[in-house]
């Protein structure tokens, strides 16, 4: 087991290097002048050709590809991601400031997905081709066919436009005033729901929760449709295995067969997929936050992209790629922990 983890850890830097190289290739499609714009916080510098040339030389933007990559990588390791005109602050600071909001959204989205998806998937498989299976399957396909941005707009339309229950944003104005400017509110975790509870402000907790529900539903519905499909096919596969037939033949109670013998074994592929799906939610964050104007990383990245703020978009992509690589590693290792066959390969 240990040797497997070590082997995986040894590949990690290679993958990270490869990803950074890929992103640098994308970045290099821009002219040196456009790339320079991601480093200066005062656009008027760019109008002076001499000053611009000096800066291009300083940041090694005109260097041959390999040395250019080397210097770019060095600046990344110093956490120098450039300047974000959209956020009007360095890219790294902008990321760090918005990360908690996104984390809060993603973490709250995972829990319902796992519970609902697996539960419905098992039901769907056990009643293969029954009415229940057909209903669940068709619902999942429809869910799968509803693009996030349309689903999100629908949620906003019904629950904000018509019912007025779930407002967009992260906090109401009165609550923003207390959280961000007041001295009475201490931010311990930057997760507003948790901070509000720690401060004993249930009104702010309720307000933050109301703003979170819409984005949570929007971010997670596509994942539960996906998880449901995987659970269903894995469960169908397991139910056809010889040992299930044996268990049934020797007269084991059907509930025991399904929930004890089959479900446990069917969960092995589901766990990998669940892990990857949670990572995949990162992509959905951009759309969800844009629809609900939820002030996290995704919303910022989308508005940066619209304003051609390349530095911010590249920084955002680097961060998400990094999270994804680490997440994949965690998934692989936990997979090996659960299923001993993986380690022996």
């Amino acid at each position: 087991m240990l040797s497997y983890i070590i082997r995986r850890l040894l590949i990690l830097p290679i993958i990270l290097l490869g990803v950074s190289f890929l992103i640098f290739c994308l970045f290099s499609l821009l002219s040196p002048m456009e790339r320079l714009a991601t480093y200066v916080n005062n656009p008027s510098v760019l109008k002076n050709p001499q000053a611009a040339q000096n800066l291009i030389a300083k940041y090694h933007l005109d260097d041959p590809f390999p040395t250019g990559y080397f210097h770019w990588l060095k600046s990344l390791l110093r956490l120098d991601f450039g300047w974000s005109p959209t956020a009007n602050q360095p890219v790294w600071d902008a990321i760090m400031q918005r990360l908690p909001a996104t984390m809060e959204l993603v973490l709250y989205s995972i829990i319902p997905v796992i519970i609902v998806g697996i539960w419905l998937g098992v039901i769907s498989a056990v009643h293969h081709n029954d009415l229940a299976d057909q209903v669940i399957r068709v619902t999942a396909i429809i869910g799968w066919s509803l693009p996030t941005f349309i689903f999100g707009l629908l949620v906003l339309f019904i629950f904000y436009g018509i019912l007025g229950w779930l407002p967009p944003g992260r906090l109401s104005t009165w609550a923003q005033y207390i959280v961000y400017t007041g001295d009475s509110f201490n931010s311990y975790t930057h997760f507003i729901t948790i901070d509000a509870l720690l401060n004993g402000r249930f009104d702010i907790f309720w307000d933050a929760l109301k703003h979170l529900i819409g984005p949570i539903i929007t971010l997670s519905y596509i994942s539960w449709a996906y998880l449901l499909r995987i659970t269903r096919s894995s469960m169908l596969d397991t139910l056809r295995k010889d040992y299930i037939r044996t268990a049934r033949a020797k007269g084991v109670d059907e509930r025991t067969v399904i929930y004890l013998h089959a479900r446990k074994n069917a969960m092995i592929p589901v766990i990998t997929v669940a892990g990857m799906m949670i990572i995949g939610m990162l992509g959905g964050v951009v759309i969800t936050e844009t629809v609900f104007t939820y002030p996290g990383l995704g919303f910022w990245a989308a508005s940066s992209a619209q304003q051609l703020d390349y530095g911010s978009v590249i920084g955002f992509a680097l961060l998400f790629a990094f999270i994804m690589v680490i997440g994949n590693l965690v998934v692989d290792v936990s997979y090996a922990l659960i299923d001993p066959r993986v380690r022996l390969e």
Partner: protein, 312 residues
């Protein structure tokens, strides 16, 4: 093959999918007749029925100032009313949706075909030759998979600029990895079969072994995956337009129609659903199109999954 087609038509869900697809194909083919363009030279540019920022309800007649422009240009006005209303900026929703069907087919089929070819070529080379070639190609695949698809496509379109061709380049650049993995897995299974060894012993060239013996036996799962991916490619392209980095402004594209509706999701006070048409019609088109592909793909997968065969 006949069995597959018979199953597709006898299964209710896939039949619904096929009918929907057929309707969309008809819409795409007869677009010039269903919604005649006002300027024949540039039919993908959605005509504006007014300069009004606010959406206008279904049945809205062309405003006088627009009429004036067409008259002064000597252009005949082929359509006078916006059947589905107008989106933000006076864009005719009906026209955008009808011509957007062509855009959707173009995006879906072109991106899926090209990325499938790239994936199949890469995956089969990796699997057939093995060794360091396999290792290298698969690590490259891993690296491309390490950036979330939508984020990667967003970065590339931001850098390349707006435009449908750029959207398609971005979708292909980050959409081929799944095919490479699937074809590699199937070829690894088939590679050691006796008939491949026989072909090799007879001195058949590597290229011919891959193309004439390996691919015909392994391509089917890839085709199923491709049919299921057409919907998601169209969704991603629409999402890029929605985020404002996709099709250029005014281009007939479903995602753009939804993004026009974004600011009008909440109506005026006391009339919350005032602009329902701005989001409803584009949403219906996108959802039904993707649903059709998914229904067909889902049934295809159930039919072709050998583990489930004989039980359907």
């Amino acid at each position: 093959m006949n069995r597959v087609i018979r199953k597709l038509f006898s299964n209710t869900t896939s039949l619904i999918g096929l009918i929907l697809l057929f309707i969309f194909v008809l819409i795409a083919i007869f677009a010039p007749h269903i919604a005649p363009p006002l300027f024949a030279s540039d039919p993908y540019q959605i005509p504006r029925m007014s300069w009004d920022v606010r959406p206008q309800p279904p049945g809205f007649p062309m405003s006088d100032d627009i009429r004036l422009i067409y008259n002064s240009l000597g252009q005949p006005i082929v359509r006078e009313t916006a059947i589905f209303g107008t989106a933000q900026g006076g864009y005719d929703i009906f026209y955008g949706l009808i011509w957007g069907t062509r855009t959707a087919f173009r995006i879906g089929i072109i991106t899926v075909t090209i990325s499938m070819i790239i994936g199949v070529v890469g995956g089969s080379i990796a699997a057939y030759f093995g060794g360091w070639i396999d290792e290298l190609l698969m690590r490259i695949t891993d690296i491309f998979l390490s950036i979330p698809f939508l984020v990667a496509a967003m970065v590339l379109t931001t850098i390349l600029g707006r435009g449908l061709d750029k959207v398609m380049i971005a979708l292909v650049a980050f959409g081929w990895m799944g095919y490479a993995r699937v074809i590699r897995g199937s070829i690894l299974c088939v590679k050691e079969e006796v008939f491949i060894n026989a072909a090799r012993a007879l001195g058949v060239k590597d290229f011919n072994i891959i193309v004439r013996h390996l691919l015909p036996n392994t391509i089917f799962p890839v085709m199923v995956q491709a049919s299921m991916n057409i919907g998601s490619m169209v969704i991603t392209a629409a999402a890029l337009s929605f985020l404002g980095v996709g099709a250029p402004l005014g281009y007939a594209d479903w995602g753009q129609m939804v993004s026009f509706a974004r600011n009008w999701i909440v109506g005026s006070p006391g009339n919350a659903g005032e602009y329902w048409y701005a989001v409803f019609f584009p949403a219906i088109f996108i959802v039904l199109f993707v649903l059709a592909w998914n229904l067909v793909g889902d049934t295809l997968r159930d039919i072709l999954d050998p583990r489930l065969r004989g039980e359907l």
